[in-house]
Amino acid sequence: MKIIGLIVAILVGALLVYAAADFPAWSDPASPASTYLSPHFIEKTMEETSVPNIVTAVLADYRGFDTMFETTVIFSAGMAVFLLLRTFRREEPEARHYRHVLTGVTLRVKEGGELPPSDDFERIDSLWTPHDLIIKTVCRLLIPFIQLFALYVIAHGHHSPGGGFQGGVILGASIILLAISQDLRTAVKRMAEKLDALLCSVGVLIYAGTGALCLLLGLNFLDYSALASVLHVDSIMARSHGILIVEIGVGIAVMCTMIWIYNNVSSGGKYNQGL
């Protein structure tokens, strides 16, 4: 079976290499891709949308419908992980582990058991390793800057590489970093499960809602120039602002989906302890 798989893989690979020889040369100005639509985007994007980064304009404006369903795919992925993994019923009674901070003594408390009355206990994971001071401190110092950079990436997507997707992933990664460097419960305390799931769909709703608003104002779905009367700007700036609104929606949806997937995968759907 393995040999057949290897043969098939080599054959398909050889076919791919053979087909790749027919590609136009890299950055060939006479290639079909560079002569059909690209010149229009390169010449007209700035005057039609006033967005200097053509990639952002194409993604969120000219092909906004495509990007909307890309966001929906991300949302569905988070939903699928949630539906497959999340368990609300516990099979065996759960034992919690507590550590006395001053002495380092670890207690295992069974379901229904009680801790000795003291404030010096902290809850720990069952596979607990001593906290590394350097990792904890560095992560705590870095997370605000990571989040600030993510906001910059979302807001500055008009002018530089970046946008909702990348910024959202970086925002989500900052919370995931918190969950890894401290523990899952700390991260869930900051970003509760219900809020996370709610924001996930709110992000997609912002995108689709902007499109629907354009429809209500009398133009095509996702034609942001309709927003001119709402935003009190001319129709070109309205397209630029429309892209920003949509990017924020994408950012929220992607951030929350990343956190949602991580929480469900790392805790096996139980949300009690993570990596």
């Binding site: 393995k2 890299w26 950055s27 980064n53 990639v55 952002t56 990436v153 590489p161 970046g162 946008g163 997707f165 990348q166 992933v169 970086i170 989500g172 990664a173 995931i176 890894i180 990343m258 997937i261 991580y262 995968v265 790392s266 096996g268 993570g274 990596l275």
Partner: protein, 81 residues
């Protein structure tokens, strides 16, 4: 494109992708996959597709590696074949 950089990156892409398939340790495969994603990111930067490279760096090399590590943590670390 500068061909020595291109050659070095492409070689590393091939090495890391074959390594990720061959390695028995799933955690190692996840890390190798992250390295592969990062090499792809560099390749796209060399070709001038900076937006795609940015997405690959954040999604491919960053978050998906964490997802793989989390998934390996919840299953067994060694493969059977």
């Amino acid at each position: 494109m500068v061909w020595p950089i291109d050659l070095a990156i492409l070689t590393l892409v091939v090495i890391t992708s074959i390594g990720a398939l061959m390695v028995k340790d799933l955690l190692g495969a996840a890390i190798l996959f992250g390295a592969y994603s990062f090499m792809m990111c560099l390749l796209w930067t060399v070709m001038g597709a900076v937006d795609v490279a940015f997405t690959e760096a954040s999604v491919g090399a960053g978050v998906s590696t964490v997802f793989f590590v989390a998934a390996v943590f919840r299953t067994s670390r060694r493969t059977k074949d």
